[in-house]
């Protein structure tokens, strides 16, 4: 009987215990949420489910860590198990180990800092400060307290996390398979993060006040990783778009940004600055950030065709970048680096050649970007102008000081001769000055290079020299002022379409080819119009004098006076003939129109008759002028050098 009573009592006790455990298990979620609320963590941490498999173990699912400032999710763990220690009594349980796996972590930065760091700071602060009871802190004890066992944060072991880094205007970085270990000691909480299987590691050490130290080893980074940097350096990183494998040692003193010290290097580094037409990379960038100064020294980066050596000194007020490249292969897209590039698109270099460049770029708050340096360039092939006239083997040097780009002794081979250019460009104002010269240009060669229809069969010959001085403002063609002279000698020019048309209009036979014609032209440029102040063509049988203008598109408006030179009669006729006719030359170089016009001495019916006769040769109604009336309210530019200094004459 007694045995039965004992069995029934035991059964009742078991049922009561089981029911109680079941009741505790069912209400565990509520209890936990209540505990979180007591600790003030109800917004910081949310839990979907809790199970209590044993007295010293708990399992939870769907745990979310939120940003304490915005409430946005920072991390979400799919499942978590918690080891609970009751060593200090049933009513003082303590979480000793947290294990979990699966889930996601989001890292972003806002004006108050990194959301993840903020959330972890808040969570860890709870463990160190104990529950928020609302009571006043206890007064300091009179006697030293007995040493108590260390009650820090539980060890945390999380695996298989997907970490996502996001920053505005940058491509997010998603790192799968990350692992997290948190170990709390009396002085430090250490967070060890493994970035995927071979993505490197990061160790974060937290002490009182927050993150104190970050050690990164072999972490592959992309531009979005700049979110871990201070704000000023973030902007720099945004400009440079760094990528590579990072080793970093970052020491922080919370609340004292000026004490931040970072040292490390970016291996297999890549940069994609917006001002470069292509990324640079495959180099090493050692860096040091200390006392608010960022220093990059002895950096080497490769770009297509060469290597650039550089160093950088930067702080909150600006930066100084030294960069140089030696014996790099010249590439056409280097032109994009030249200020006002859009205004010199008529210069089209091709890949090939070599380049040296040494620049110091200084940016200071409130001041214009300052670029100092020098360089030399060799371009194997350069196309000039709308016809793409080929200039080969262009060589020259330049220097930049005080916003003035000075390019001197730039010369190249062109049409059997040489072309030379020197000048200055004010990078601040866009004003430029240039002197150009041509030496021994074979105009037959040039005629073909200009691709004017008929050049293949024209067989124009002659040797051209010329020089011009130009001034103006980049991008404002109307402000261009130039003057100069061109001459052709030892030539035969009567097959030039314009001169051929003159001969036909005068019903003259084409003179014999003795390659002794000479042409001299003095000109000015005002905006889009070339004014021919003086034109003189001399050959054995006929000479021409003229003046007029030519538009930038090649439209002609010239007045030509022919002078017969053949034989003794030529001298006698010269004066009379000059009084009789002049030629109005319109149209274009390749399609000229000539109108023979009697001068004052021949007017009235005879002039009309002359017009009727010469109308057969292309005269007639004058088309609307293609010329833009150029303002000429500025003083004449300085008289052009009759001839510029050739290479080597200095």
């Amino acid at each position: 009987m007694i045995l039965r009573i004992l069995l029934v009592a035991l059964g009742v006790v078991c049922l009561l215990a089981g029911g109680a455990w079941l009741a505790v298990d069912r209400s565990a979620v509520g209890m936990l949420r209540n505990e979180l609320a007591v600790r003030g963590l109800q917004r910081l941490v949310q839990v979907e489910s809790v199970k209590l498999p044993s007295l010293e173990e708990a399992e939870a699912g769907g745990i979310t860590l939120n940003d304490p400032r915005t409430g946005l999710e920072v991390a979400h763990i799919d499942h978590l198990s918690v080891d609970v220690s009751t060593a200090e009594g049933w009513f003082s349980p303590r979480v000793t180990v947290v294990r979990g796996g699966g889930g996601r972590v989001h890292v972003w930065r806002d004006e108050d800092g990194l959301s993840l760091v903020r959330a972890l700071d808040a969570l860890l602060a709870t463990f160190s400060s104990g529950p928020d009871t609302g009571e006043e802190p206890a007064p300091p004890p009179e006697q030293p307290a007995e040493p108590k066992p260390w009650h820090g944060a539980p060890a945390v072991i999380l695996d298989d996390l997907e970490v996502t880094l996001t920053q505005p205007d940058q491509k997010p970085l998603v790192i799968p398979g990350c692992a997290l270990r948190v170990n709390d000691t009396p002085d430090t909480v250490t967070v060890d993060v493994q970035a995927g299987s071979d993505g490197g590691s990061a160790v974060l050490r937290f002490a009182s006040g927050g993150l104190h130290h970050l050690e990164v080893r072999g972490v592959e980074i992309t531009p979005v990783c700049a979110l871990f940097l201070p704000v000023d350096e973030q902007e720099l990183a945004s400009d440079l778009q760094p990528s590579g494998v990072l080793d970093l040692d970052l020491a922080l003193l919370p609340g004292h940004g000026e004490a931040t010290r970072a040292q490390g290097q970016l291996r297999d580094a890549g940069l994609a600055p917006s001002l470069l037409p292509y990324p640079v990379g495959e180099g090493t960038l050692p860096f040091l950030f200390e006392d608010g100064h960022l220093t990059v020294s002895d950096a080497q980066l490769s770009f297509p065709g060469g290597t650039v050596q550089g160093s950088l000194q930067a702080d909150a007020t600006g930066f100084t970048l030294d960069a140089s490249t030696h014996d790099a292969q010249f590439r056409a897209d280097f032109m994009q680096l030249i200020p006002h590039f859009d205004d010199i698109k008529w210069l089209k270099p091709e890949d090939g050649g070599s380049l040296d460049l040494s620049l110091r770029i200084t940016s200071r708050e409130g001041a214009d970007l300052d670029v100092d340096g020098w360089g030399g360039v060799f371009m194997e092939r350069l196309r000039v102008g709308p016809s793409g006239v080929l200039v080969e083997d262009v060589v020259g040097s330049l220097d930049i000081h005080d916003q003035i780009l000075d390019f001197h002794e730039v010369s190249g081979r062109c049409a059997g001769g040489a072309a030379q250019l020197s000048g200055t460009l004010n990078l601040h104002t866009g004003d430029f000055k240039a002197d150009a010269s041509l030496f021994d240009i074979d105009i037959a060669h040039l005629d073909r290079a200009l691709e004017i229809p008929g050049s293949e069969s024209r067989n124009v010959v002659g040797w051209m020299q010329g020089s011009a001085h130009a001034e103006g403002h980049m991008g404002e063609v109307r402000r261009t002022r130039a003057s100069g002279q061109v001459s052709v000698r030892g030539g035969y020019l009567w097959r030039v379409p314009v001169l051929d048309a003159v001969l036909r209009s005068l019903s003259l036979a084409r003179p014999e080819d003795k390659r002794s014609d000479s042409l001299a032209v003095r000109f000015r440029v005002r905006g889009q119009t070339i004014y021919i102040d003086e034109l003189r063509l001399d050959s054995e049988s006929l000479s021409l004098q003229g003046e007029g203008r030519v538009s930038r598109d090649g439209d002609l408006d010239l007045k030509i006076t022919p002078i017969h030179m053949g034989g003794m009669l030529g001298d006698a006729l010269r004066y009379v003939q000059r009084q009789i006719v002049a030629l109005d030359l319109t149209g274009t170089y390749s399609d000229p129109h000539v109108r023979v016009r009697p001068l004052k001495a021949v007017t009235g019916p005879l002039g009309d008759l002359w017009d009727w006769i010469t109308g057969l040769f292309g005269g007639g109604e004058k088309p609307a002028s293609p010329f833009i009336e150029e303002p000429d309210d500025e003083p004449e530019p300085a008289a052009p050098p009759v001839s510029a200094t050739p290479p080597g004459a200095r």
């Binding site: 050649g353 040296d356 002794e409 000698r489 030892g490 002794s516 001839s643 290479p647 080597g648 004459a649």
Partner: protein, 228 residues
């Protein structure tokens, strides 16, 4: 036949000899296809770009003495940083005599760069181009006619290295359709015809010709006067 006839014939022959053009050779780079304008030898090396034109082997006067001269125009572009020079002592032409036999080496007699006489090595600064006119004199150069070939040799010094170079020019035969000897005489003020130096002009004393105009390669000869 009277005795006067041989005397008259001798005088006529002497006059004819006086009037006949002196021997002269025009050249193009060896292996280059014939063309109407002067041929240019172009060598692109790691250190420099060198263009060479042979302006011929001709008779002119140096210090009033008639001599034979090989005239070469050289344009050297330094395509890197750092200066280079062509050692003066290394610049020479190896001339193959028209009568056969071994080559004769002629050292550089006189050099000009633009308007400046160069007395030492031919110097070219980094990233710059310099024109040179080189004269190699030898009174016997044209004794047997124009040499069939001329080899220009030089040594380029730069970056601590010495790079030898050479280019060969071949005589343009008179029956070549593009032979400059067929051209009308050049305008003596301008000096060039199809890029050739004063073809058809008997060259006199060699000295830099005064000119207002800047040119890459200036003229160095007046036309030979009749008194000579």
């Amino acid at each position: 036949m009277s005795a006067r006839r041989p005397i008259a014939a001798a005088l006529l022959l002497a006059l004819a000899g006086c009037a006949s053009p002196l021997p002269r050779g025009f050249y193009r780079p060896e292996g280059q296809a014939p063309q109407d304008t002067i041929g240019v030898y172009v060598e692109q090396g790691a250190e420099a770009l060198i263009e060479a034109r042979c302006q011929g082997a001709y008779i002119d006067r140096v210090d009033r003495q008639r001599t034979g001269t090989v005239h070469v125009q050289l344009d050297v572009a330094r395509t890197r940083s750092g200066d280079i020079s062509l050692a003066r002592s290394s610049i020479a032409v190896d001339v193959k005599p028209a009568a056969g036999g071994p080559h004769v080496r002629l050292p550089l007699s006189e050099a000009w760069s633009g308007r400046d006489r160069v007395t030492g090595d031919l110097f070219v600064p980094g990233w710059a181009r310099r024109p040179f006119d080189l004269f190699f004199d030898d009174p016997q150069l044209l004794a047997d006619g124009a040499p069939p070939s001329i080899l220009l040799v030089w040594e380029l010094h730069g970056d601590g290295r010495v790079v030898p170079g050479q280019c060969e020019f071949a005589l343009i035969p008179d029956d070549d359709p593009y032979s400059p000897s067929r051209l009308p005489a050049a305008d003596t003020d301008f000096g060039l015809r199809n890029g050739y130096y004063l073809p058809g002009v008997q060259l006199g004393e060699r000295r830099l010709r005064k000119a207002d105009e800047e040119r890459l390669h200036h003229l160095f000869h007046e036309e030979e006067g009749w008194m000579w």
